[in-house]
């Protein structure tokens, strides 16, 4: 078997890298335990599901994945999408949320594998940068709102943001100061440990900076458990409650066809978003060392990870940003780091769950809140808006649709909007009427240069491939050019035309007919080879007659110019 196919990182492995991976695995696990439980809560699932999602999936990813650093496991945005999907699906079909989430992982995994095998990685093209930016920002806001009930200790039955906010607003007097304080303290501890403490240890060169400086969440978690247990505060703070000290049982979620089809849409969106997040993280980290990753292989890796999640009562996973950066900084060299992390999580699951049961829920809410803030990037909004107003509008529309209509519908609306913008742009290509720069063979836009035009001849350059969205525009442009008084010849300069589809060909024929009806000839110039093949196959050169096809604009000008003189003489 080809080593680069399965376990592609194996050849890089030696004792040194394995040691570095072990350390990195410890750091990742220190983040995975609190984050896993927090994200599972966000997804509306019991805390151990988040830990299960950190066990087998990283190992499964390691089978095919090509990123050295990618830490695969539960992430915030996918958890939000799972929460939305399971809420709707579980209710409609009477399936419990844990099984629904596992089914989602299974279908996602199958879809990702399939996309990898069919090399459909290009499907992620549909998630353009403005759509992704708008989606992530709005998702972050939704996640933050969803944590309010935990932080304020106010019971809200529904999960849609408007109901949550209005319920909370109506019960402000019932806010529990202890949960609010706990969440704030959690955030402060994490920022303090990951910030000043980490920097101090790094500067003191104790070799612990990297390790401790990423353990803020773990420190907060341990502190909270210890303090809550010692001070009797546990009465004031809702706790996680029972976590079974057991490994996930391998099990197949319900698998009838109707059910899987019903899951399909949500699973596809989860797959796309998860893959995009994973690939952009993996690519950014690889670029730091001038390396690159192979997206179609990443599809297989993530597909395997999600299949593993689906078979072990876990829920959809992907490569997360924060843990991956930490893994890279902590010196991970191969996906073995993720495997080591999984082993540490396993130990926690087997030995430490009784301790974790005393953890106040508000701590998890604090961890989530801090994590999602990084998803909102005002700088990215500004860059996109400055660079391209249309992309800016797609961004705003996506964000608003996600906030107001919902996570899935909003994402689909954003994708549709970005495709519409593209079609709109293709439908109105740039067109220049060109003339010759005196004394040269160069032909340029007459609005930008001092050019001379032949009397009776109009030369039009269309800067776009001729395709169905612009076929009407093409016909109107040519007919328009031939409608000005005195014009006898119209030359279409096709130097920027890389393709002609059937609809554009029909439009071209209609333009020929209309122009001929008015006694105007249509000519072509600078037709590229493949386009010419296509035109010849359907007999366009004959249709053009008495119009001609010239090799270059210069040829067209010379030929039409001499004919003109001939007429005048």
């Amino acid at each position: 078997m080809n080593k680069t196919w399965l376990l592609p990182w194996w050849r890089d492995l030696d004792r040194l890298t394995a040691g570095r991976d072990l350390v990195a695995g410890l750091v990742i696990a220190a983040m995975l335990v609190p984050q896993g439980m927090a994200y599972a809560a966000l997804a509306g699932l019991p805390p151990q599901v988040g830990l299960y999602a950190s066990l087998l999936p990283p190992a499964a990813y390691a089978l095919f994945g090509t990123s050295r650093y990618l830490a695969v496991g539960p992430v915030a945005v996918v958890s939000l999408m799972v929460a939305t999907a399971t809420a709707a699906l579980s209710q409609r079909h009477g399936v419990d949320p844990v099984s629904t989430a596992a089914s989602l992982a299974l279908v996602s995994g199958a879809l990702l594998m399939l996309m990898g095998i069919l090399r459909l990685g290009f499907l992620t093209h549909f998630l353009s940068r403005p759509v992704l930016t708008g989606f992530l920002s709005a998702a972050a806001v939704l996640i933050a709102v969803s944590q309010l009930p935990q932080i304020l200790d106010i019971r809200v039955e529904a999960s849609d943001p408007v109901t949550v906010l209005s319920t909370v607003a109506g019960q402000l007097e019932q806010i529990n100061p202890w949960t609010v304080g706990t969440a704030l303290a959690t955030i402060l501890v994490i920022r303090w440990v990951n910030g000043p403490v980490g920097r101090f240890l790094s500067r003191a060169n104790l070799g612990l900076g990297v390790l401790v400086g990423r353990m803020g969440a773990l420190v907060a978690l341990v502190l909270a458990i210890v303090l809550a247990s010692l001070t009797g505060l546990s009465d004031q703070l809702p706790q996680i409650g029972e976590i079974p000290a057991a490994l996930p049982r391998p099990s197949l979620p319900p698998l009838d066809t109707a059910w899987l089809l019903e899951l399909g849409g949500a699973a596809l969106l989860i797959s796309l978003v998860g893959f995009m997040e994973s690939v952009s993280v993996g690519r950014a980290l690889a670029a730091r060392e001038g390396e690159s990753i192979r997206p179609d292989r990443e599809l297989l890796g993530l597909g395997a990870a999600n299949l593993a999640a689906g078979l072990t009562s876990a829920y959809p996973v992907t490569g997360g940003l924060s843990r991956s950066i930490v893994a890279a900084d902590a010196g991970a060299r191969t996906p073995l780091a993720g495997v080591f992390a999984a082993i540490f999580v396993l130990l926690v699951l087997l030995l430490a769950t009784p301790l974790l049961e005393a953890l106040p829920r508000a701590v998890l809410a604090g961890i989530v809140l801090l994590a999602v803030v990084q998803l909102i990037s005002p700088r990215e909004w500004r860059t996109i808006w400055i660079q391209d107003r249309r992309d800016g509008m797609v961004l705003v529309l996506t964000a608003l649709a996600v906030l107001l209509v919902g996570v899935e519908a909003g994402l689909v609306a954003g994708i549709a909007a970005s495709i519409l913008v593209l079609l709109w742009r293709v439908s109105r290509p740039h067109v220049a009427v060109v003339g010759r720069i005196a004394g040269t063979e160069h032909f340029r836009n007459r609005e930008r240069h001092e050019v001379e035009e032949l009397p009776g001849v109009r030369m039009v350059r269309v800067d776009e491939s001729l395709q169905f969205p612009n076929s009407r525009f093409l016909r109107d442009t040519l007919v328009q050019a031939g409608s000005e008084p005195g014009i006898r010849d119209v030359v279409l300069i096709a130097s920027a035309v890389n393709d002609v589809d059937a609809t554009a060909l029909e439009a071209l024929e209609e333009a020929i007919d209309t122009l001929n009806g008015r006694g105007v000839r249509l000519h072509l110039a600078e037709v590229k080879g493949p386009v010419m093949d296509r035109l010849e196959r359907v007999g366009l050169p004959e249709r053009l007659h008495p119009g001609e096809i010239f090799l270059s604009t210069h040829d067209a000008a010379r030929s039409l110019g001499s004919r003109m003189r001939h007429v005048h003489e």
Copy 2:
């Protein structure tokens, strides 16, 4: 009021043209009466609805329409779409089919008007030529199948083609030879009158050729009524039955919001298809005289026609191909011809309905069958397939989807497929590695010309605007170009790049980072003005450093070449 806005054809009117329009109106009416009843039956509506649809709508079209010849009224494909939509909607909401069809006309009319006012004529871009061709062919097959029960006199409850065919196949022994004979006789009479008889009269120069040569359907209809009455064959042939000898009562169909929204999707598709048919007919006829029509005005005209249909218990209308050609050939000069035709239909409705009631249904089926055959154009299939394989596949897919899944879903699938093909094409632009043709300043594709390349420099020309579908391809192409051994500089020649969106910009930045990480510089050359503005706004020139932006490929080659020599010296 500006004359060219309302009644745009008014200024062309004088006694002569009015006279010609009167004759043309008579010819159109002679087709409208049988076709109107036949298409109404196809739409699953009583025969008089087809006549109602020929009264006010042509007059309403004349208010805004810009085509001289367009004969607005019931057409086959729209009737099929109405049949599909009303079958589903009437059943689900318990509204009778006549009201449902009128509601569809009303909503279609409003949508068309709205599209006209907002100048959304470009929406029809989405119906590309292969989609329209595949759709019309498949619709013709569906229509032909739907006429089988009438022709064979076999009762079929369902309307989906598979059930119709299987029911018919199971009851072949019950075929009524009289109805089959009547349908065949109808087809033969029409072809004989419109063919040999018309040609003979034309050649004999009796001035009647044009008139009689288009009245085949009318002749068949009159013959059938006379023969059936005289011979007592009416017992063997199911007849149309009662037609109220009354004008349609102006009435508003049911108008609650939920109902209108429910209609919206079907009405939109009917509007788009109707508009496309109408515009292509109008455009083809106008082109014959070197004229053109104004699509946004056509939207208003058709919108008014459908609003009129909706308010007079009729059903959706559009400009039909066969009647429009006939109108043009019969000498119609203005839409007044349609108004005259409406007056003749009115007379039929008031005076002749008792006669029509004896008409065998099989005659109408014969008329429909003959009309839809022209919708299937093997030549068009061949042209599209030869010219562009991808378009050919969209065509086949659309036709299959319409046949197997349904009229509306099939059309939507076709539109989606053509957009996917476009995105796919944009996602893999043509890329050329270029070099200098020795002794010149010209740079050309190294695979097509004998060129010389600078050592250590790779020049890549991407022949497409840089947008989200090709951003990943762009990044991979650039990174790839910089990965070959010995390459220190990569030049992206942007001569064919008319636009850069935010996603492509991000890809460009990622390529810069990856290449810089490997000690390779990325340069740009031949960046167009508007693209350069965009790149400068987000600081790309600084990001490029130490890469540069060259005015021309020649400049890039000179500068990088001299640097290279400097290094070597």
